[in-house]
């Protein structure tokens, strides 16, 4: 076969791929609204957690979220990683009564210790579902990793509620919501069981920060991101060292390889 038609074929296949990409863009446009995205301090290879924000976020979790959402994978002792002292953590834990069994084998409630898991708001999933219109609130231990879009999605969700009287008739019809339902722009299907959890002044920050909705959302995400990936800072630090070592190693390898091959090329 002569050469020219093949070039043409290659061109044609490139054109076909371009056409496919345009088609894909059209398909993507029909999906859920795109998430407003921002840069979070814990993203990127040098990312770290903002301790102050995460401590405020813990306060939001403790005062608001923990009424319904568990945080099963965490221990109270983990809070020292956010910069709280041992005594502060002991104090936080001691305010909470957790179920246990005493030496006589009888069920009791006792003050929590730093070595205890975060207390569950409901004894089991059935009880959680029964108390929340049939849908158990999800555990938040890895929530930032368990949602497409991560922190951006959770931010959009927490601030994405639209009150019933502000909805257009089309939105009401499309999501088939009544005034007893909660409409959220970013929740798949828009009808969400969770009522708007946060609002201005929902918590009173101990550090005096003004508790706007945006501040609370941002803080609680900082806390939940840490809860989902507590070793992120260690991972990033190790990563930078490993990559630097490998780069030096690769350079050395390349130099030796050139040397070895010098007489063969």
């Amino acid at each position: 076969m002569p050469k020219k038609p093949i070039r043409k074929q290659a061109l044609a296949s490139v054109a076909a791929i371009a056409a496919l990409c345009v088609g894909w863009a059209a398909v993507a446009a029909e999906d859920e609204p795109s998430l407003p995205s921002r840069h979070w301090g814990f993203q990127g290879p040098f990312g770290t957690y903002d301790r102050a924000a995460a401590q405020r976020g813990f306060q939001v979790y403790k005062d608001v979220c923990s009424a319904c959402h568990s945080l099963n994978m965490l221990y109270y002792r983990n809070l020292t990683e956010l910069g709280l002292t041992q005594d502060q953590v002991k104090g936080i834990a001691a305010e909470i009564q957790v179920p246990d069994i005493n030496d006589d084998g009888q069920p009791i409630d006792r003050p929590a210790r730093p070595s205890d898991h975060f207390k569950k708001p409901f004894p089991n999933e059935l009880a959680a579902a029964a108390a929340n219109n049939g849908k158990a609130p999800p555990d938040l231990s890895v929530i930032v990793k368990a949602r497409e879009g991560g922190p951006d999605y959770i931010q959009a969700l927490l601030a994405g509620y639209v009150p019933f009287d502000k909805l257009t008739p089309e939105q009401i019809k499309a999501a088939s919501v009544t005034k007893d339902d909660n409409y959220n722009t970013y929740f798949p299907g828009h009808r969400i069981a969770m009522p708007p959890p946060l609002a201005d002044d929902k918590v009173q920050y101990v550090d005096g920060t003004k508790a706007t909705l945006g501040q609370e959302v941002s803080d609680v995400i900082e806390f939940l991101a840490w809860a989902s990936e507590p070793h992120l800072e260690d991972r990033n630090r190790t990563g930078v060292r490993v990559i630097l070592f490998l780069l030096a190693m690769a350079g050395l390898m390349y130099a030796v390889k050139r040397q070895v091959w010098a007489d063969k090329h």
């Binding site: 050469k3 994978m73 507590p230 260690d234 990563g239 490998l246 690769a250 390898m253 070895v260």
Partner: protein
């Protein structure tokens, strides 16, 4: 044709000589990894065998440590993985190395397979070498699938549901086979237990088949970018230090990219849904496998009939077993096949498109696209390869490797 390995080596160290006289492992290493005559004209595509070997060892090493901390129980598995991530010292590192390692093992192997396709490494006398490679690929897919089930997240559970249900398409005995695979009437604890046992077992079988793959490789030696056999010492170099150094460099560069993902984007290649604990009552919106299985998943869904889809999916890999006989061209390397060369690239693009279809719900234009790509896949192997080998006029082959290398150096 493998040039002679020369006289047996003489060892000065008395202990080594004593051992080697009784168990000639040092002679073996000397012959197969030191003086072993290797074509002098490899390009960097030839690094990927060594890279895949390194990844296999790394996967087994990290996997054994993970198994020490993992609990294969439907109620405890998810939490035990999170415990590894949080409370086991450096557990996060071991798990991310393993999780990301699966992707990079497949990436290395896919490049290795593409290398074989492009340079005709499957042709005589390397047919069995190629077939052993396809067996390794199948074992890897089974191992990776079962490993993905172990964290017992939503995608673990539903991926396992989709894949095991494929067997129900087999007429008459299909449902019994599925019950047998599950160890019950639903995917549950017995399924998780057996998947864990098999996930631990299969990698060692892979090691055994890799050993056979290497033995078969060392009978006739490696193919090379020109696809012509070495004709004498001027065409080859000893494996060590020439290719040990080149492989060392290639492996290190590969590890840089791998480490970039492990440390800075460990979840980028996974699915967020797998951080939700398995729930048999809630089906995820889109059930998708890991990226490396997407093209085959697309083939499965492209066929409107369930049994047909299953046959095509397994057939797409089954075809690779007879590839050495489907290709009728006597020229190995695509460097000298002016027409087929483009179709190999087209096949690679086709695989990427299939993967893209597999990642998206089977709606809209993904349906016809997946069908066209599936059709091309089979057309490529069943129609194009046999016919093209007969009608294509290959370019003239160089007289020897050394001459081609020296000519390129001069020009």
């Amino acid at each position: 044709m493998a040039p002679s390995h020369g006289a047996p080596p003489v060892f000065n160290n008395k202990l080594i000589a004593w051992i080697d006289h009784r168990l000639p492992i040092f002679t073996y290493i000397e012959k197969e990894y030191h003086t072993f005559p290797t074509p002098r004209n490899f390009n960097y595509f030839w690094n990927f065998g060594a890279i895949a070997t390194v990844m296999l060892v790394l996967m087994i090493a990290t996997g054994v440590v993970l198994a020490m901390n993992y609990t294969p129980n439907a109620d405890l598995a998810f939490a035990s993985v999170e415990r590894i991530m949080r409370d086991v010292p450096s557990g996060w590192l071991i798990r991310y190395l393993h999780m990301t390692g699966a992707s990079f093992f497949f990436a290395a192997v896919y490049i290795h397979v593409f290398r074989g396709l492009y340079y005709g490494s499957y042709k005589a006398p390397r047919e069995l070498l190629w077939i052993l490679g396809v067996i390794i690929l199948l074992l890897m897919m089974a191992t990776a699938f079962m490993g993905y089930v172990l964290p017992w997240g939503q995608m673990s559970f539903w991926g396992a549901t989709v894949i095991t249900n494929l067997f129900s398409a087999i007429p008459v005995i299909g449902d019994s086979i599925v019950t047998w695979l599950w160890g019950g009437f639903a995917i549950d604890n017995p399924t998780l237990n057996r998947f864990f046992a098999l996930h631990y077992l299969l990698p060692f079988i892979i090691v055994a088949v890799v050993a056979l793959h290497v033995v078969a490789l060392h009978v006739h030696g490696s193919n090379n970018p020109l696809g012509i056999d070495p004709k004498g010492p001027q065409d080859t170099v000893p494996f060590h230090p020439y290719y040990t150094m080149k492989d060392g460099f290639g492996v290190t560069v590969f590890l840089i990219v791998y480490a970039g993902f492990v440390f800075f984007a460990p979840d980028a290649l996974g699915n967020a849904d797998n951080y939700i604990p398995a729930n048999p009552l809630v089906t995820p919106n889109h059930i998708v496998p890991e990226w490396y299985l997407l093209p085959f998943y697309a083939i499965l869904r492209a066929i409107p009939d369930k049994l047909g889809g299953v046959i095509c999916m397994f057939g797409s890999i089954g075809l690779l077993f007879i590839l050495p006989w489907l290709d009728t061209s006597r020229v190995r390397s695509c460097a000298f096949r002016p027409v087929y060369k483009w179709f190999v690239f087209l096949l690679a693009i086709n695989m990427v498109l299939l993967g893209w279809c597999g990642a998206n719900p089977p709606e809209g234009f993904f349906v016809p696209l997946a069908r066209v790509c599936t059709a091309y896949y089979f057309f490529h192997f069943i129609v194009l390869l046999p016919i093209l080998g007969k009608i294509e006029r290959p370019l003239p082959l160089p007289p020897s490797i050394a001459e081609a290398v020296l000519k390129r150096k001069a020009g």
